[in-house]
Symmetry: C2
Subunit: 217 residues, 2 copies
Amino acid sequence: MGKFILYNYFRSSASYRVRIALNLKNIAYEYRAVHLLNGGGEQFSEEYRKLNPSREVPTLIHDGKAIGQSMAIIDYLDRVSPNPRLFPEDPFQRAQVMQACEIINSGAQPVHNLRVLGQLGERFGADQTAKNEWTKYWITYGLQSLEDLIRPHAGKFCFGDQPSAADCFAMPHFANADRFEVSMSAYPTLSRVRTSCEALEAIKKAAPSVQPDTPKN
Amino acid sequence: MGKFILYNYFRSSASYRVRIALNLKNIAYEYRAVHLLNGGGEQFSEEYRKLNPSREVPTLIHDGKAIGQSMAIIDYLDRVSPNPRLFPEDPFQRAQVMQACEIINSGAQPVHNLRVLGQLGERFGADQTAKNEWTKYWITYGLQSLEDLIRPHAGKFCFGDQPSAADCFAMPHFANADRFEVSMSAYPTLSRVRTSCEALEAIKKAAPSVQPDTPKN
C-alpha cells in the first residue's frame, strides 16, 4: 500500500473528516501536526506551501505524492483502498453521497473557517461575539440542508446502515455545532446518525479531543 | 441516456461549471432558469427546495432524479457519459484534478456568493464597495492557489492538453475575476489556460452572456 502521512490539525474539521476516512478503512498513517495559529500559522511556511499551495490542512502524502482538499483525499482513498467503500458504486447513489458531503464541504464550513473569521475581524471589526454568531448561522444552514437531503435515505448513518463519506463530513460538522452551542434538537435524522457515528471506534479515535497535538489541559 | 434538465442561473458560477461539463460531453439538456434575485430568489420556493434542499443552483435532473452541487453533478456526468472523461482514471491524477476543482469549489467561491454577501450587509453593514473588496480578496486567493497547484501540470489546459473538470471550475472563476476587475496578469499559467478555454465552442456556449435567461441589454 505504501506509506501514508497526514499533515493535519486536531481541531480542523477537514482534517477530522480525513482521519475518520482513514480509520474506517483501517489505514495506518503517520500524524504530522500543523498548528494553524502558532507563529501566525505553520501552514503559511514556504516548506508547507510546497505540499499544499492553498496553505491549508489536511494534506495527505501517499508514496511521496501530496494531495490536498478533504474531498479529493477521501475520494482517492476510496480508489486505492476500496474496502470498505465510502462512496457507493451506483452513479446516482454516489452523487447523492457526494452532494451531502458538499453541503458541508463547500456550502457551510468554508464560510466560517479561520481564514474567513480573520477577514471579518480585519475588514468589519467583528469581535468574538459577532464571529460566533456568524459561525452559528452557517452551521445551522448546513445542518438544515443536510437534514433535508438525507431524511429519505438515512438509516443508522446518513445513507443506509453503513458509514459513507457523508458521515465523514457530517460528524465534524456536529462537533462544530457543539463547540458553538448550536442545538441539534431540530434535526432528528442527524441526531440519530450522530449517535451511530459516536459509537464507532474509528470515529472516536479521529476526534479532535484525542489527537497527538490536542492540548493536554 | 435519458433526459437531462438543468435548473440554473446564467450568472451563477456553479451553474456555468456544469454547463461547460455538459457541453464538453455533448449532452443536450433542457435549460430551466432559476432567478436568484427576483421575488427574493426563486431558489427559496418550496417547490424548488424539494429538488435542492440547499436552495441553490444548479440542480441536474436525469431520468427524473435530482442531483445538487456542481462537483457531485460533474462527477456523475463522468460516470453516465464518460466520453470525454473530465476526471482521469489514474487515482493520483484524478485526485490532483479534484484538488484543483476544490480550490475554487470550497476554497474561494463559497466565501463570496450571494448568500454570504447578503449576510455581510445585514450583520456588518457592508456596502457595495466593501462587498466588492471582499470578493476580490477571495478571487485573488483562488487564483494564486490554483496557479501554484497547476503550474507543474498545465499544458494548454489546467492538466495537460485536454480540458478536464479543473477547467470547468477555473473558467467561471476567471469570469468572476473580470467581473470584479481582478487582473490575471500575475498568473501566467492560468492566463494561458484561459486562452485555450475561450477558444472552445463548448465553453463559449456555456458563457453567462449567452444563456436563455441572460438579460437582453
